[in-house]
């Protein structure tokens, strides 16, 4: 038996810089059989490996129907991600996955969507939005709410502008601190919840970002009487194995890598109420 922990070789087939410290890598397994057998769902992640550096968990941002390559958007924060940023087309690295439980894209069909994102360009939610727009008829109204610390942190501004032009899509952008030319809102993401128009009884709320923001959004959604099982959270924790063995991502009775990274609020609410859990 081959251990689930051993990567396969993959090749960089495309790369683009998103911002000075963010980039995207399109990867393909060099073994065509491995590539052909590879399937994933929205919100799952892969482990990317560089020799002598180690592995990092990275969300998959391509569309599940795209079978020729697997796309990842990565921020340069540590030694592995900084060196992944130096890869060029044709370079080889290790890849294993997909892991975890992603967004409930089927369960959300026929409902209004509220997608709330905080922090620096949260790739998992951006790919989720693109996924929905490519299957627009299956979903109800879509509200996209993105909060950033500072207006300079907002990447992919053109995408937000393009999303806004779709029917039944509303985009709300807000920054804790906006500069002079910030045309949108300032303040927390929760400021929009009273006015946005969605069916509390038939909606799916997807939250991705810092846990402080998650707590605030969950509170606001409870006030709008959204059931806890209709609120999903994409969690982040340190991960080394990605298969529920190394223990590092344990959160309450869950391992984020195996049982998540997407959870319902009902599953996790008791463990999100305090910092440092």
């Amino acid at each position: 038996m081959t251990s689930a922990l051993v990567p396969h070789e993959a090749e960089v087939v495309g790369r683009r810089d998103e911002t000075p410290d963010m980039f995207s890598l399109q990867l393909r397994f060099t073994d065509p059989e491995v590539q052909a057998a590879y399937r994933f769902t929205m919100g799952q992640f892969n482990m990317l490996y560089l020799p002598g550096m180690g592995e990092v968990p990275i969300s998959i941002v391509s569309d599940p129907d795209e079978r020729a390559m697997i796309d990842h958007t990565i921020r340069k924060v540590g030694s592995v991600t900084r060196n992944l940023g130096r890869l060029e087309v044709g370079d080889r690295l290790g890849l294993r996955g997909p892991y975890g439980r992603g967004w409930p894209t089927e369960e959300a069909e026929g409902t209004d969507l509220v997608i709330v994102t905080g922090g620096l360009g949260c790739a998992p939610s951006v790919s989720l939005i693109e996924y929905v727009l490519h299957r627009r008829g299956r979903y109800g109204r879509m509200h996209i709410i993105q909060g950033v610390k500072h207006s300079n942190d907002l990447i992919w501004r053109d995408r937000y502008a393009a999303w806004r032009r779709h029917p039944d899509v509303e985009v709300y952008l807000t920054a804790d601190t906006g500069d002079t030319f910030w045309p949108w809102h300032t303040g927390p993401v929760t400021q929009f919840f009273e006015r946005i128009d969605f069916d509390s009884a038939r909606c799916s709320v997807f939250i991705c970002g810092p846990e402080g923001m998650m707590r605030a959004v969950i509170k606001a959604m409870r006030e709008r009487e959204v059931p806890e099982e209709r609120i999903w959270l994409s969690m982040e924790r340190n991960m080394h194995c990605a298969i529920g063995s190394c223990g590092r991502c344990q959160l309450g009775p869950k391992f984020v890598c195996r049982d998540g990274p997407v959870f319902t609020c009902r599953e996790l609410a008791p463990y999100l109420s305090h910092r440092g859990v």
Partner: protein
């Protein structure tokens, strides 16, 4: 009821010999560095005759007595965890080819048949917990499985408890209940032996034994009863998962800030702690890289590091993480608590933090507040 035999003390060497003849490397308790450790064992003379352990919070000392018994110590710093969950091991290697390609080679799991003499009830309970974690999942761990399948376990029922023991409170001892091949109960002149597996019976059949007498069986009962009575530590009444969930913001956690060194000794000696750190080491020529894992600890700030932030940056948060997982959310994950009552974390904590006392304090309403 199992037939129980009596093996005279002077025949104990034959147990070691039969195990060696059956192809096992024999491991047993030996005194090394002033502690009882599980080490390779060839002769009964290497066993800790007359040695007992004096244990207390932050305290472990061996003492020599006039007794001829060899299993009157309660626990050493190790359970049998290192024999199944290696402290450090290579999982796979990557090799960079001259043309830039990467080749991955799995490190095949390796283990030789190993017989361990002197395994305690708490250690067996912990092993069952690890079996659940490492084997009963979508991705069974091949390295753990290989070593586990090669184990032959000779349990010893405890006739004496250390002051740190509380296995009666967790329901795991002092009598070995499951998961062993042979069990020994030590009397002054020999051992009552019972087999629990076919492999154990096969070894027992090769030993020169007599049927255990009624009197000998009564001495065993009395010994186990004595070990039970010697235990003074316990756990708070009621559901610990519910208590700990309710106590998430209890002011008592803050007191750990002045006591806990976050050294991770408790997680190293805990027989059920399974956390790992995976690491990658590049060879000097830069061509090959070894990817391995070693024991990790939730007391290490790096354990909860994500992109520039440590989630549990403060000491009390890390202690809370350990205690609430071990006694609380562990139950939902594995169907039982992660504590088997061995008391090692109490003895080997350099500042003597006692989990049973911490749980007691957390189960009480904070000072000045009424109970909920």
């Amino acid at each position: 009821m199992k037939v129980r035999h009596f093996l005279a003390r002077e025949r104990l060497q034959s147990l070691i010999d039969r195990l060696v003849e059956a192809g096992y490397e024999v491991i047993g308790p030996r005194v090394r560095d002033h502690a009882i450790l599980f080490e390779p064992l060839a002769t009964v003379e290497q066993l800790p005759v007359g040695i007992i352990d004096d244990q207390a919070p932050g305290h472990y000392r061996l003492e020599r007595t006039d007794s001829g018994r060899i299993f009157d110590w309660a626990t050493g710093p190790q359970a049998i965890k290192p024999l199944t969950f290696a402290p450090r091991e290579t999982l796979w290697r990557s090799e960079r080819q001259p043309d830039g390609r990467l080749v991955f080679r799995e490190q095949p799991p390796e283990a030789q048949p190993t017989a361990v003499i002197g395994v305690r009830a708490c250690d067996l309970a912990a092993l069952a917990v690890h079996d659940r974690h490492f084997l009963h999942d979508a991705h069974p761990d091949p390295h753990y499985r290989e070593r586990r399948q090669n184990l032959f376990l000779v349990a010893v029922n405890c006739m004496r408890s250390a002051a740190t023991c509380f296995c009666t409170a967790t329901g795991d001892g002092p009598r070995a209940q499951h998961g062993f091949d042979l069990a020994l109960s030590e009397l002054d002149d020999g051992f009552v032996v019972e087999a629990h597996t076919q492999e154990g019976q096969a070894i027992l059949d090769t030993l020169e034994t007599t049927l255990a007498s009624h009197d000998q069986l009564e001495q065993v009962e009395a010994g186990v009863e004595r070990a039970t009575r010697q235990q003074t530590r316990g756990l708070p009444e009621g559901s610990l998962p519910e208590m700990l969930q309710a106590a998430v913001a209890h002011p008592h956690w803050q007191s750990l800030n002045d006591r806990c060194l976050t050294c991770g000794n408790c997680t190293a000696v805990c027989p059920t702690c399974f956390c790992q750190t995976h690491l990658d080491e590049l060879s000097l020529d830069g061509k090959t890289s070894e990817h391995g894992r070693q024991w990790g600890s939730c007391f290490d700030p790096d354990h909860s590091y994500i992109h520039g932030t440590v989630i549990r940056a403060e000491r009390p948060q890390r202690y809370r993480q350990w205690l609430t997982h071990k006694f609380g959310t562990w139950v939902e994950q594995y169907g039982r608590s992660g504590c088997v009552g061995c008391g090692r974390c109490i003895a080997w904590c350099p500042v003597g933090i006692d989990v049973t006392e911490e749980l007691e304090a957390l189960s009480k309403a904070p000072d000045g507040e009424n109970p909920p």
